[in-house]
């Protein structure tokens, strides 16, 4: 026979005390009632215990009870208001009026010709607390005198509720197992003492039922979304990409102008991106670079480029500004990536966040072509999205030409938009001082993350539910 240590403790209690409800068991075993309830179900299933169900009358306190507790019972309120005598007409207040009836019934007062007088009984009452008041004070209705309960019910301070209660007792099988443990040398819990003194040598161990339920552990765990982002980072590093870092607050210059996005473009409207109230303006980088960018804009877009607009500050709206910064340092050849937190003034709902992580990067090299860009995207789709099929679509980004969107398919999530990419525009690269082609790409990974986490609300990626995080799978 296999049994757990907590279960055995319960069986012992039942052997000693006979029939018990779970509250008593919990108290005697020094365990949580919920735990006991769970264990009882298991013990019943194994046939160690049985129960009888009784209907139990219980009492529930009403608002009147609470009022009594706060202000005192009506008859006391009344008596404390009477100075020797009181004219009935002068009685004021609802509770005090109620007090008259009860005080009279209990013989605490007499009413003669409309004048209230305190009796001897009443005077005694004023000196010490009555039984009913003692109950009100300590709030414990168990073991209360039946007459007092009856009065409280009549006065509406409490009401009766019927509850079903299970009373547990040992079955024969249950009794046998406890007795066996009791009368033979069975070890429940192995202690250092037993080990040290070798007591275990002539004893038997209680054999546990290994399928028994155990308490849930509270321990440390990675966040599943962070784990996912890190796995992408690892993949990209394996593919030869170097990580780029940069500030969350950007000059519009890096977020837009350096990316050849004209200052009058709709994407720069306040509804599309955040701007800062404080600090409002930053300092533009080297004049040479600024002049080149200005020239590129004014020549191609035919408008007057403003330094002031370019020096406005904003929380970055995409990770591409990191690529622009990297390119401005004029690297020769190489692969770069970033996982960047980005900000956009969207209303949060199940498909939009107001800040999100963008995975993106660039490849710089002499003979790179659009064909190579498709090659990189295909590799990402296979490695990161586990794609079985891929498809390319024409797309539009202000800073790339040509631009492409890739959709990836696998059996689990069907077709998803997996990323956008393109070759950086010549005007942009010239201003940054780059002569080689630069392939730029960005991946939409949140859909895949949501699929891996088994969620369909994007807000859950930043869940503030601790229990959910404790229970969610990480891989």
């Amino acid at each position: 026979m296999k049994i757990g240590i907590k279960e055995l403790r319960i069986l012992k209690i039942l052997l000693k005390h006979g029939k018990c409800n779970t509250h008593n068991i919990a108290k005697l075993a020094n365990m949580n009632v919920d735990v006991v309830n769970r264990l009882m179900l298991w013990l019943k299933l194994k046939g160690f215990v049985e129960y009888e169900e009784y209907e139990k009358i219980d009492y529930e306190k009403t608002n009147i009870f609470k009022e009594w507790k706060k202000y005192g019972i009506p008859e006391r309120l009344l008596l404390e208001n009477i100075n020797e005598k009181l004219n009935l007409k002068d009685v004021k207040g609802k509770n005090i009026e109620i007090g008259i009836g009860w005080a009279k019934r209990k013989g605490l007062i007499k009413i003669i010709n409309g004048v209230i007088e305190i009796t001897k009984e009443g005077k005694r009452f004023l000196k010490e607390k009555s039984d009913i008041e003692k109950v009100v004070e300590n709030g414990n209705l168990n073991n209360t005198d039946k007459n007092i309960l009856k009065e409280m019910i009549e006065r509406g301070a409490i009401k009766t509720v019927r509850k079903k209660e299970k009373i547990y007792f040992l079955t024969e099988k249950g009794e046998n197992i406890v007795k066996k443990v009791k009368y033979t040398k069975l070890i429940e819990k192995l202690t250092p003492e037993i080990i040290k003194e070798g007591k275990w040598k002539d004893a038997e161990f209680v054999e546990y039922d290994v399928s028994m339920p155990v308490p849930k552990l509270i321990a440390g765990k990675p966040h599943p979304y962070m784990e996912f982002l890190n796995s992408i980072k690892e993949k990209l590093v394996e593919l030869g990409f170097m990580e780029m870092c940069g500030p969350l607050i950007e000059l519009e210059f890096w977020n837009f102008d350096a990316l050849f996005q004209p200052q009058n473009h709709a994407a720069r409207d306040w509804t599309s991106t955040y701007s800062l109230k404080n600090p409002k303006f930053g300092v533009l980088p080297s004049t040479e670079l600024v002049e080149k960018v200005k020239t590129a804009h004014e020549h191609s877009w035919k408008y007057k480029w403003s330094k002031e607009i370019a020096s406005k500050l904003m929380p970055r709206a995409h990770g591409t500004c990191l690529s622009a910064r990297t390119l401005s340092k004029k690297p020769k050849e190489g692969k770069y990536f970033a996982i960047a937190r980005c900000f956009r003034p969207d209303v949060m709902d199940s498909t939009h966040l107001l800040e999100f992580n963008q995975v993106e990067g660039i490849v710089i090299g002499k003979n790179l072509s659009f064909k190579n860009l498709l090659g990189i995207l295909k590799r990402f789709a296979i490695e990161i999205a586990n794609a079985k099929k891929i498809k390319f679509f024409p797309d539009y980004y202000p800073f790339t030409e040509p631009s492409v969107q890739i959709s990836a398919y696998n059996e689990d999530f069907g077709w998803i938009e997996f990323g956008g990419a393109g070759i950086f525009r010549e005007e942009m690269l010239e201003a940054l001082g780059i002569n080689e082609p630069v392939l730029a790409w960005g991946l939409g990974i949140d859909r895949i993350a949501m699929f891996k986490l088994g969620i369909n609300d994007i807000r859950m990626l930043f869940s503030n539910n601790l229990e959910w995080l404790r229970n969610v799978k990480v891989i």
């Binding site: 509270i218 990409f241 498709l374 024409p394």
Partner: protein
């Protein structure tokens, strides 16, 4: 990315060819479109190109698809005759809304669907391309109801006319205050003491750009014969292009185009002005960018599909592409190459990975973050992720007095500043989990933003780790134990000095130093904050600036 609605029936009739939705699903890629919804005859289409307003209506899509299906190739052309209408620009208006152009279209087939498309195109241009009417606003009028000379002038706020949607005359002032469009777009002109209007030689007010047209003249209806279009704005290139786009759409509906003369001081110009730019594209360049082999004839054919005209120069191994006048998105040869690519078909190119040898790697801050993360998890902490945007009010409640980087246009007051520390985010998280099992030990490694005049961005971004513990036993000592354990793992020797941070219980908060550098703080959170946030148990935190830690380690 403008989303537009078109009717399949209308598309087929403009194409002069019958295609079904299945065919369109493929061919719509040719205009960088995607069918998002199908509702019987009506399709919702997302056009991805934000620089091509010519594709934001059924007419434009049909024009481009005619090239795709080979119904018409090469440049789209039409004759422009002279109309009698002229617009005279008052010089005072130059500082309010300087540019105006116009045109007349006669005998276009205007039925309900055509009206829907014109209104939609007008709206999409004004909203997207015209930045909510700031740079472009469009008015269309029944030509038969207006005089031949139209003055574009500033008028006193007391001036009256009947705006669209109303039956009574209103003053310009009142329109800005009361009319739906006045409320929506009033900010564009409200700061001036007089407002722009169009008024004809009969003294009738046509409209109050960029707000609203007049109810008497400024409306087209089914079977309106002749249409007058005016476009005002602050960006002449956008204004001109918008006119070209709208005119060509109406001509596609069978309209005949007539020009309008704009007299602006000493200059006299005639609109619409169809300008055909030429760009030379080298064949080698094409091949180099795309990574495929192409012939000159090939290139010519593929560009004609996109309604370019193409001349071949065999000697120089290049083509001379003439660009349709309704396209301002074609700026240089690269843009032409993309059109070749779209004709060629994205999925007809074999992907090939680049041969670049490079060493991958993560940044130093990522590396140290990973170590710290593993140590924290080892200490029994649940990792959490929160937003960097937070509420100014909450930071104030916690007693943070640092200068905070603040958003100008927040969507909600819950997310209106960038956090300077991570711990407020963790406290907020914990305040939402009082019903969860204890002990609650959590950590986050995340970015923070601090004011800093020394940087170009007037702020600096730092990566912090914050550990927070809420339980009956959470106190100063445990937060210090966590810190010491972490410091040992990072090989740091730390010093502690009492801190005055008001969010700690007095005498139970400390600043953490490594060498002379402050790298963080720790302590027991003040019960007044615990109460405010409705956390129910004692709480302690540690916050370390990993950028500073990194400086000590390197």
């Amino acid at each position: 990315m403008p989303k537009i609605e078109i009717s399949m029936m209308d598309l087929n009739r403009l194409l002069c060819k019958s295609i079904d939705v299945g065919e369109l699903k493929d061919s719509i890629l040719f205009v960088k479109g995607e069918i998002e919804e199908i509702n019987k005859d009506v399709l919702k289409i997302d056009i991805k190109d934000t620089n091509r307003p010519d594709l934001w209506s059924c007419e434009g899509i049909a024009r481009e698809l005619k090239g795709f299906y080979g119904i018409e190739r090469g440049l789209w052309k039409c004759n422009i005759k002279k109309s009698a209408i002229k617009i005279i620009v008052d010089q005072e208006i130059k500082h309010v809304r300087p540019f105006i152009v116009g045109a007349v279209v006669k005998d276009a087939m205007i039925d309900d669907e055509a009206i829907r498309q014109i209104i939609q195109l007008q709206e999409k241009i004004c909203q997207n391309y015209g930045r909510r009417r700031a740079s472009v606003a469009i008015g269309v009028y029944d030509c038969s109801k207006i005089g031949n000379t139209i003055n574009y002038v500033l008028a006193e706020p007391k001036t009256k006319f009947v705006p669209l949607g109303y039956r009574k005359e209103m003053t310009l002032d009142k329109i800005l205050k009361v009319h739906e469009k006045g409320i929506e777009y009033g900010h564009l002109i409200r700061n001036f003491d007089r407002y722009p209007i169009l008024i004809d030689n009969n003294g009738n007010i046509l409209s109050m750009p960029p707000i609203i047209n007049s109810a008497t003249t400024g409306k087209i209806e089914k079977n309106t014969k002749n249409i007058f279009i005016d476009i005002t704005g602050t960006d002449i290139n956008k204004v001109v292009l918008s006119l070209n786009v709208i005119c060509s759409a109406l001509v596609d509906r069978g309209g005949k185009l007539y020009s309008v003369e704009v007299i602006d001081g000493n200059s006299k110009k005639v609109y619409p002005e169809f300008e055909y730019k030429k760009i030379i594209v080298n064949r080698r360049y094409c091949e180099h960018i795309l990574g495929i082999k192409l012939g000159l004839d090939n290139i010519k054919y593929m560009l004609e599909m996109h309604r370019y005209n193409v001349d071949i120069d065999e000697e120089k191994d290049c083509v001379i592409a003439t660009i349709p006048f309704y396209r301002h998105d074609v700026i240089n040869r690269r843009d032409v190459v993309e059109d070749i690519l779209i004709s060629y078909g994205y999925n007809n190119i074999m992907p090939e990975e680049p041969r670049i040898v490079s060493n991958g790697g993560v940044s130093n801050i990522s590396r140290i973050s990973n170590v710290v993360r593993e140590v924290c998890i080892g200490m029994g902490m649940q990792e959490i992720m929160t937003f960097i945007l937070t509420s100014k009010k909450m930071l104030k409640n916690i007693g943070i007095s640092e200068r905070i980087v603040e958003i100008e246009n927040p969507i909600s007051s819950e997310y209106n500043v960038m956090r300077p520390f991570v711990f407020p985010s963790l406290l907020k998280f914990l305040s939402k989990n009082t019903k969860s099992r204890y002990p609650q030990n959590v950590f986050e490694i995340g970015e923070c933003v601090l004011f800093d005049e020394e940087y170009e961005e007037k702020s600096r971004t730092e990566v912090h780790v914050c550990i927070a513990s809420v339980s009956n036993n959470s106190d100063f000592s445990i937060s210090k134990s966590y810190t010491e354990f972490l410091a040992t793992a990072l090989g740091l020797k730390l010093f502690y000095k009492a801190s005055n941070d008001s969010w700690f219980i007095k005498g139970r908060g400390a600043n953490i130093f490594c060498g002379r550098r402050k790298i963080g703080f720790l302590g027991e959170i003040n019960p007044c904050i615990i109460n405010k946030l409705q956390i129910e148990k004692p709480c302690c935190i540690v916050e370390l600036n990993l950028n500073n830690v990194l400086r000590e380690i390197l």
